[in-house]
Symmetry: C2
Subunit: 362 residues, 2 copies
C-alpha cells in the first residue's frame, strides 16, 4: 500500500476485498464503504427516489437505524417482530405499509435471518424494495443459501467488534448491477456519474473505504471460518455452563433449522420461572463485574414515538434478553464463572428479591 | 494500538490527535471524523434545527458541497464570489439570504481565507450561523490568526491528498462547547445523548475516526511545517519557471497580505494576452502528459440549476484557471519542463490556434 502510494480512492486492496467478499457471499457486486451505517443511508436515499416517505423497519434492533432513515429524508415506521426469530413479521410489515412507504428494511439477527420468503412476498405484492441489515448475519444462511444475495441488497459491517474486522468499515452486496453502479457513484461524491446527479435524485457522499481498512479486513476474512469455529466452541461451553438453569435459555441453541450460524453473540432469554426481572438481573451481574448489557432494549419506538406504533411482541421481548460476554477474550474459566453466577441467581433469586424489598422498606 | 486492543470508538490516538489539532489551530474543541464531508453534513443538520431550508454557499468550489447540503435536508443557494480572492462576496451573500436560509457556508481557499470579517458581519445582522469549509486553508491565517477558530465552526480534511494525511479523515474545530458536544453525540449514533435525540432534531451517524487514521495523521501533523516549507520552495520554483510568461499568473504569488500560506495547490490564472482558451490549453498540456486539471470548473450551479443563480464573477473565473501538479512527487525538473511548455504555448498559441482551425476546415 505504501510502496504503491495508493492509500484510498478505490485502491487495489479495496478492489481485492470487494472481489473476495462477493465470492464469499455468492453475489455479483460488493461495494466497500467507510461503514455499514452509510450503506443503509445510501440505499434508503436511492430507494426513495428523492421522495420523502417512510421506511418500514423493526424497533427491536440497533438504535442507529431510525437515524439513518432521517438522513435519507425518510421517517422510520416500526413493524412488530416474530416471537421466535425476533425479526420482522411479514404480517406486521404488510399492516405498516402505506402510500408513504418507500422501502422495507429487514434485519437479519445472529440467531435467525427471519422469514425472508414471507417478507419478499409482501414486498413484491406492494412493489416495494426489500433490503437487509445483515450485519449480524455474516456467515449464516437462509434455506441453504448464505446471506448476501437476498432482496435488493444486503448491508454488512467491518467494524472492529464484528466477525470481519477492518478497524471500521462496511459493505453492500447486491445482484442488481444498476444499483451497484449508483452506490459506487454515491460513495465518491457522484464523481463520474453520467448526466445530472441532482436530476436523478442521486446524492453524493464520501463513503469510501480505504486501503488500510481493506488490508485488515482481508486478513480477517481469511480467518473467518476459524473465528466462527472458535465462537461456536465458546457457545457450546456456555450451553454446558448454563444447562438446566430454570428459566434461562440461550438464543439459537440448539439451532432450530440446522443452518450455519456465526455465534457472534451470546444472548440469554429470561422467562418464568426465572425469579428476577431482567433489569435487576443485569444490575446484579454488573455489580459482580460482568461486561454485560441488555439486548436491543429499550425498543426504538420509545425514542421515536411519532407516529405511535403498536408492537406487543417487541415490548415483551425487549425486557427478556441479556447479552453475555462473547469473543476470543472470553476464556472457558470466564464462561464457567458466568454460568455459576447465573445458576446462583436462579436458586437465590427469591431471597435476593426479599432482601432488597426489606432494605427498601423504611 | 494493537497491544491496547483499541482500534476505534474514540480511542487514545484519536483523543491525542484531537488535542494536538486543537492546539495547532488555537481552538478549544476538535472533533475528529471519518471524513470532512460528514463534518459539513453534520453541521448543516445541526444548524438547520431540523428545518428544511437553504444553505448559502459558493458555486466556485468542491463539487461535494451541494450534495452534502441535501443530506442535511437543505438546498444549496449559490452566492457569487470576489474577483480577487475567489471566495464568497459578503454583498452577494446578503443578497442570497431569505427566510429559508439556515446557514452560511463559506469556503477558505488555499490562496485566501476570504473576507471573514465581512461575512461575519452579514451573518450577525441576519442572526445566521456562519461556518467554513477550511480544507484548503490548513496552516494559513486571517489577520494574524491561524484558521480554525473562525465562525461557529471550521471543517478540515485528513484525506491522503491533503497537507495532514490520515489516509482519509476529517475534523471540525470550534470554540462552541455545546456544538462540540452535539457533534460528538452525532458522530457516534447519538449514543449517550441526554434526552431524546429526535426531539432535539439531532440525527446520529457513524462518523467516527479510528485509531490507524489517527496514528497516520499524528505523524503527518508532526511534519506539517516541513511539508509546507517544501511546498513553498516548489512554489517559488514554479514562480521562477513561469516568470514573465505573458497572460499567466500564479494564484497567490506574491502573497498580497503577508499572511502565511500553505502552498498546497499551484493554480495558474490565464487571461489576455494568453493566446488560447483555458480548455484548449488544458487539452494541449494533457496531450503532453501533464497530470493537470481545471480548477473548480464547471461551477456547481450548472449541476444544480434550481433556483437559477446569477453568478457573473463565478462564470468568468471558472474558465480561467489551471491546476498544476503539486506535492513532493513533483521535481524541480518537472517544474522547469512545465514552465517551458507554458512558455511555448504563450509564444506559439496563435499559430497553434491557426493550425487547429485549418485542420477543422473540411
Amino acid at each position: 500500500m505504501v510502496e504503491r502510494r495508493r492509500l484510498t480512492n478505490d485502491g487495489p486492496l479495496v478492489q481485492e476485498l470487494e472481489a473476495q467478499l462477493a465470492a464469499y457471499h455468492g453475489v455479483h457486486h460488493c461495494i466497500a464503504l467507510a461503514n455499514a451505517g452509510l450503506g443503509l443511508i445510501m440505499l434508503m436515499q436511492i430507494f426513495s427516489g428523492g421522495r420523502q416517505g417512510e421506511v418500514v423497519m423493526p424497533a427491536f434492533t440497533f438504535r442507529g437505524l431510525p437515524h439513518f432513515a432521517r438522513w435519507a429524508g425518510q421517517q422510520p415506521r416500526f413493524a412488530d417482530i416474530d416471537l421466535n426469530t425476533q425479526t420482522l413479521s411479514p404480517v406486521a410489515v404488510e399492516a405498516a405499509i402505506s402510500e408513504r412507504t418507500t422501502a422495507i428494511l429487514a434485519v437479519c439477527n445472529f440467531n435467525s435471518p427471519g422469514d425472508i420468503d414471507g417478507l419478499a412476498e409482501v414486498a413484491a405484492r406492494h412493489d416495494l424494495p426489500l433490503f437487509f441489515d445483515s450485519v449480524y448475519g455474516v456467515g449464516t444462511a437462509y434455506r441453504g443459501r448464505r446471506l448476501g444475495s437476498f432482496g435488493r441488497a444486503e448491508v454488512f459491517s467491518l467494524h472492529a467488534t464484528k466477525l470481519i474486522n477492518g478497524f471500521e468499515g462496511g459493505y453492500v452486496t447486491t445482484n442488481d448491477a444498476p444499483l451497484a453502479r449508483q452506490l459506487r457513484y454515491q460513495r465518491n461524491f457522484c464523481y463520474g456519474a453520467e448526466g445530472d446527479c441532482s436530476a436523478d435524485m442521486l446524492i453524493g457522499l464520501n463513503a469510501k473505504l480505504n486501503e488500510p481498512h481493506a488490508a485488515m479486513a482481508l486478513l480477517s476474512l481469511a480467518r473467518i471460518d476459524e473465528t466462527i469455529g472458535a465462537n461456536g466452541a465458546r457457545f457450546e461451553e456456555y450451553a454446558t455452563a448454563c444447562a438446566g438453569i430454570p428459566g434461562l435459555r440461550l438464543l439459537g441453541h440448539p439451532v432450530p433449522d440446522g443452518e450455519p450460524r456465526n455465534y457472534s453473540l451470546v444472548v440469554a432469554e429470561l422467562a418464568p420461572p426465572w425469579p428476577l426481572d431482567r433489569d435487576l438481573t443485569l444490575a446484579l451481574l454488573r455489580a459482580e463485574g460482568l461486561a454485560i448489557s441488555a439486548y436491543y432494549s429499550p425498543p426504538l419506538n420509545r425514542d421515536w414515538p411519532d407516529p405511535p406504533a403498536h408492537l406487543p411482541v417487541t415490548e415483551i421481548l425487549a425486557s427478556r434478553f441479556l447479552q453475555l460476554p462473547a469473543g476470543h477474550l472470553v476464556s472457558r474459566g470466564d464462561i464457567e464463572a458466568i454460568g455459576a453466577l447465573l445458576r446462583f441467581l436462579a436458586r437465590h433469586g427469591p431471597s435476593i428479591r426479599a432482601a432488597l424489598a426489606e432494605e427498601r422498606t423504611p
